[in-house]
């Protein structure tokens, strides 16, 4: 069970799972070692899912796709926008969340849990993880982004 940092911006409450690492744009990554490989589960943050609205379709690139950090690995079609998601690490997509096909709303309902997107077999997890933000740093980046969005009013 993840623990969460929580912040309120305007009338919205956003949670950040404390047990994982983040791209500043809102993709999370959590690694687990298995048979000398690092398998990194990825998804999008509570902030990113709230910002973009109800997910209608989630298109994740197929298993076997080779990725460099920063490559697009998924696109979400939401009620309000199309959202490209970029890989936090170098590696190969090895698993796609099977629930996304018929129930993509799990991304909105449980962005840090059942709404995970994919598993990437990392090429060099130890090197890539050093380039990602921890939960506190992501929370700061997220707050800054949200405050910029609010200034657009």
């Amino acid at each position: 069970m993840s623990e969460f940092l929580e912040t309120t911006i305007d009338k919205f409450i956003f949670r950040v799972a404390a047990d994982r690492l983040y791209r500043p744009d809102g993709v999370w990554a959590v690694g687990a070692e298995s048979q000398r490989k690092w398998l990194v589960r990825v998804g999008l943050t509570d902030y990113l899912q709230q910002l973009n609205g109800d997910v209608a379709f989630a298109h994740v690139k197929p298993a076997g796709t080779m990725l460099a950090a920063g490559d697009e690995f998924a696109e979400l079609e939401t009620i309000k926008a199309n959202v490209s998601l970029f890989s936090p690490i170098d590696g190969t997509l090895v698993e796609i969340n099977p629930d996304l096909d018929l129930s993509p709303e799990v991304i909105n309902q449980e962005p840090y849990g059942k709404g995970w997107l994919a598993v990437i077999e990392a090429a060099d997890w130890q090197a890539d993880r050093a380039k990602l933000l921890d939960a506190n740093a992501y929370l700061t980046a997220m707050r800054a982004h949200a405050e910029e969005e609010l200034k657009k009013s």
């Binding site: 109800d54 009620i79 657009k152």
Partner: protein, 153 residues
């Protein structure tokens, strides 16, 4: 992202229990109160306007949601009913809005249960993102009847 927009209407008293309504988007019409509230039959009333505002707004939002959810809509018709409560102090409130849409969609070769699930999600999004539905304090209940048509004629 906290953007604002304004909409306007103008009402003008025409004598007795009659008024003239000019809507910001162009139409003009006479209005009165309902006959049971000392008004006239056969004309627009605030009560009808309130129920119609929610009904029309949810429908327009559903049309948008249907496009985003890639639903081939064949027909949509919705009867809406507002329930008024007269309180002990004689103030009145719409406590409940009940929307009963009849929705026909094409299966387009997809499994009917999958199409129906998408229609229900689109309806939930329509309710969530409807400006008017979001703005009222009445309970809003949507009771859809959904027909999936294999081969539309």
């Amino acid at each position: 992202m906290s953007q604002t927009a304004t909409y306007n209407t103008t009402v003008r008293w025409k004598g007795e229990h009659w008024g003239r309504l000019e809507m910001g988007n162009g139409p003009e019409m006479d209005f009165s109160a309902p006959p049971d509230a000392h008004g006239h039959p056969g004309v627009f009333t605030p009560e009808d306007a309130f129920v119609a505002a929610a009904n029309t707004c949810v429908m327009m939002m559903f049309l948008w949601a249907a496009e985003r959810f890639k639903i081939e809509l064949l027909s949509y018709e919705c009867r809406a009913e507002g329930t008024k409560l007269i309180e002990l102090d004689r103030t009145e409130i719409f406590t409940r809005l009940r929307l009963c849409p009849l929705i026909r969609v094409a299966a387009r070769g997809d499994k009917p249960e999958n199409v129906e699930a998408r229609v229900r999600r689109a309806l939930q999004s329509a309710r969530k993102y409807s400006l008017v539905a979001n703005s009222v304090k009445s309970e809003i209940v949507i009771e859809p009847e959904i027909a999936i048509v294999e081969q539309p004629t």
